[in-house]
């Protein structure tokens, strides 16, 4: 065990992945000598050489197109998009190419070895182009997996699982958490399961669900509610696609209530998909409507970030709304 922040845990996972397989590569804008703008790839070029860890030109569609080709060839590319806000030039290469590569060829070819890493989410005074949470766009694309960790331990285990998974995985890293805190992380190799939610706190009155940096906010709200005598079951979804319907449905059958919170805007966010599925699966067990606590349907603000975000107080109010329905 060692104390690591999320960046160190990610760097450690990349180091393990590159160490175990000569065909594993890390690349993206400023990823090489400099080690990435957040330093996630720090030291990897020195250790593994310029052929395996390098800068690319400033062209996101090129980075992912290049990565698709590498993966189809049999290499194991780990491509970094500097900010999730800048993933959209690569949308075609992700949605029309990576996601459909195996299907469209009848499994003659695949890009299962591809992993895309991108710093994501708000809370760093980054305004509308350094704060977005675009997971829902990719969740609408069969063929992709989408994974979001909540802390350093989760980040290392889930990233190693993503790199080794035989499907293209988008790994969104909540950048607000990069250096926010440290946690105990095993030095050795380990993996955490993709597609499996984790119940962090058992409870009986309401199920609270989130992923990534919202987990911290959610726990704060659960603690506030506990002072009012409300027993919250807190769950980290961890994988947006595929997502663990069973764990969430079992919890809601027990508690009768569900609250989902996300940083992204409300309309057509992934919380909406969860709400629809759970009302289908648990209709007769629900005591109140599924609550969604989300960003507003606006671009991500700068000066008024505090008012915009789904903070613990908004969640706390929604918990009470649900309980008192």
């Amino acid at each position: 065990m060692a104390k690591m922040n999320m960046l160190q845990a990610i760097n450690n996972a990349l180091d393990i992945a590159m160490g175990e397989d000569d065909t594993t590569l890390c690349f993206g804008e400023d990823v090489g000598h400099f080690g990435g703008v957040f330093r996630a790839t720090n030291g990897l070029q020195d250790k593994y050489g310029k052929l395996r860890c390098f800068n690319t030109p400033l062209v996101e569609q090129g980075i992912i197109g290049f990565a698709n080709g590498l993966a189809a060839q049999g290499s194991r590319p780990i491509a970094e998009i500097q900010f999730a806000d800048y993933i959209f030039p690569a949308f075609d290469q992700i949605v029309n190419e990576a996601a459909k590569f195996r299907y469209r060829s009848g499994n003659e070819f695949d890009v299962g070895k591809l992993t895309i890493r991108a710093p994501y989410g708000g809370g760093i005074a980054g305004g509308l182009y350094h704060s977005q949470s675009p997971e829902a766009y990719f969740a609408h694309t069969p063929g992709l997996k989408v994974v979001i960790p909540r802390n350093p331990y989760q980040a290392k285990g889930l990233l190693l699982a993503s790199i080794r998974d035989d499907n293209p995985v988008i790994f969104f890293e909540p950048k607000r958490l990069y250096r926010a805190s440290t946690g105990e992380v095993p030095i050795e190799d380990y993996q955490l399961p993709i597609g499996k939610a984790e119940v962090l706190q058992a409870g009986s009155d309401i199920t609270l669900l989130a992923w990534g940096a919202q987990m911290e906010v959610l726990q704060k709200a659960a603690d506030l509610a506990a002072n009012d005598g409300i027993s919250c079951e807190v769950i980290d979804l961890r994988s947006i696609l595929p997502w663990d319907i069973e764990t969430i449905a079992n919890s809601v059958v027990k508690t009768g209530r569900l609250l989902v919170t996300q940083e992204a805007p409300l309309t057509a966010g992934f919380a909406s998909e969860i709400a629809a599925t759970i009302q289908q699966e648990c209709f007769l067990h629900l005591e109140s409507p599924v609550e969604r606590v989300c960003g507003l349907d606006t671009p991500y603000p700068l000066a008024l970030e505090k008012e915009y975000v789904s903070d613990h107080l908004k969640i706390y109010e929604a918990i009470k709304r649900s309980i008192n329905y």
Binding site: L25, L51, F54, T56, F66, G69, S75, S105, K145, G195
Partner: protein, 393 residues
């Protein structure tokens, strides 16, 4: 690591534009239409066996296109894309490579796959999207692919294969393989952002990839002067720092020669090469297109006189490697074989209903399995509405 990459020109003290006229782009021509070669021309490395294989592939291509366009007109096939008049670019490209080299195509390069030995049955099964299609009946006709033959499955979105080819070639280099990647695209697709991305990255990342542009004058109905204003696609190669060749795309010897040279260079120098093959799409863009709405018969006639297959035939005759009797027998046999294959493939069953959910992931998720079960229950309830699959699972 350096930012000093510039070949400095003369220093001037008043603004002085430069433009395309600063660069003259030579066009490689080896074979004349009458079958003779230009004096002093360097011929490709090609013996009689290879030459006959190339020619038979061209003939197969021509006849398959004819028959399949006719089948589409008869309503037997939903869609087809012929390569009439520009078959030399795809067949010659494949002939200039080694079998282990990856070919990543746009959609009009079936000739390369024919040269690699994709069987007539495989072509047919793909076009009729039946259960024997390697692609499991998931893509429209002509979206072929074969991992065994190192021919990447075609994707409809234009230009996406260009940066992918760079990545593929980079992987080949990294693993020290005696392999390159050849990437085909049209002059229209070269307007896509992926073209810029792929070429620039290939130069910077030093990938052994051959970019092969088929400049056939049209992107569906849009002529090339409404596509770009530079000196073709070749001029762009220079801008990216890529060794570039412009060739006569209807000259099979020039195509093979250029590809052989490009392969050698790419492998030796770990660097990309751009080939711009000048040609003309004599046929329609696809069976859904009618060129009479956007170009003249006179223009077409000019290019009909440049038929690449006739040009190669004339050369073979001059070598005494071919005669008119063989010619007649070959084309007759091909027409028979293809017609017979259509009749077989169009009767083969559609893929099994389970292939609805396979290959989306390596293993179908719980959700996908549940969705498939729902479809099966529904099909069983209304079997008349789903004749391809009802009662077959």
């Amino acid at each position: 690591m350096s930012s000093e990459l510039y070949n400095d020109g003369p220093v001037v003290h008043k603004p002085t534009f430069i433009d395309g006229t600063s660069i003259e782009i030579p066009e490689l021509k080896i074979l004349k239409q009458d079958g003779s070669t230009y004096e002093g021309a360097e011929l490709p490395d090609m013996d009689e066996t290879l030459a006959l294989k190339v020619y038979k592939t061209l003939a197969f291509h021509r006849v398959l296109d004819e028959r399949m366009v006719a089948s589409q007109r008869q309503g037997r096939l939903s869609f087809y894309m012929a390569a009439l008049g520009e078959e030399a670019a795809s067949v010659g490209g494949a002939a200039g490579l080694k079998p282990q080299d990856m070919i990543m195509s746009q959609y009009r390069e079936q000739g390369a796959l024919m040269f690699r030995g994709f069987s007539l049955e495989n072509f047919m099964n793909q076009m009729f999207s039946n259960e024997k299609d390697l692609g499991k009946g998931r893509q429209m006709p002509i979206h072929y692919g074969s991992s065994e033959l190192n021919y990447m499955t075609i994707s409809s979105p234009l230009g996406t294969q260009i940066p992918q080819a760079t990545g593929y070639a980079y992987g080949q280099k990294l693993q020290g393989l005696d392999e390159v990647t050849l990437c085909y695209f049209g002059e229209g697709a070269a307007s896509e952002g992926d073209f810029h991305a792929g070429l620039n990255m290939a130069a910077v990342q030093e990938a052994p990839v051959i970019f092969f542009c088929r400049n056939n004058g049209y992107a569906i109905s849009t002529p090339s002067d409404e596509q770009f204003r530079g000196n073709g696609i070749a001029s762009r190669g220079v801008g990216y720092g890529i060794k570039t060749l412009r060739i006569d795309g209807n000259d099979i010897l020039a195509v093979i020669k250029a590809t052989q040279i490009a392969r050698k260079y790419a492998l030796k120098e770990n660097a990309p090469v751009l080939i711009e093959a000048m040609s003309y799409r004599l046929g329609a863009h696809s069976t859904s297109d009618d060129p009479s709405g956007y170009r003249t018969r006179e223009e077409e006639a000019k290019w009909q006189a440049n038929d690449p297959i006739l040009r190669m035939k004339n050369w073979l005759l001059a070598q005494n490697w071919w005669d008119e009797e063989q010619e007649k027998a070959l084309f007759e046999k091909l027409r028979e074989k293809i017609l017979a294959a259509v009749k077989v493939s169009e009767k083969i069953s559609k893929p099994h209903i389970d292939t609805l959910i396979t290959d989306v992931y390596d293993v179908p998720s719980i959700q996908l399995k549940a969705q498939l079960e729902q479809v099966k229950v529904h099909v069983n309830k209304y079997p008349e509405a789903y004749p391809f699959t009802a009662g077959k699972f």
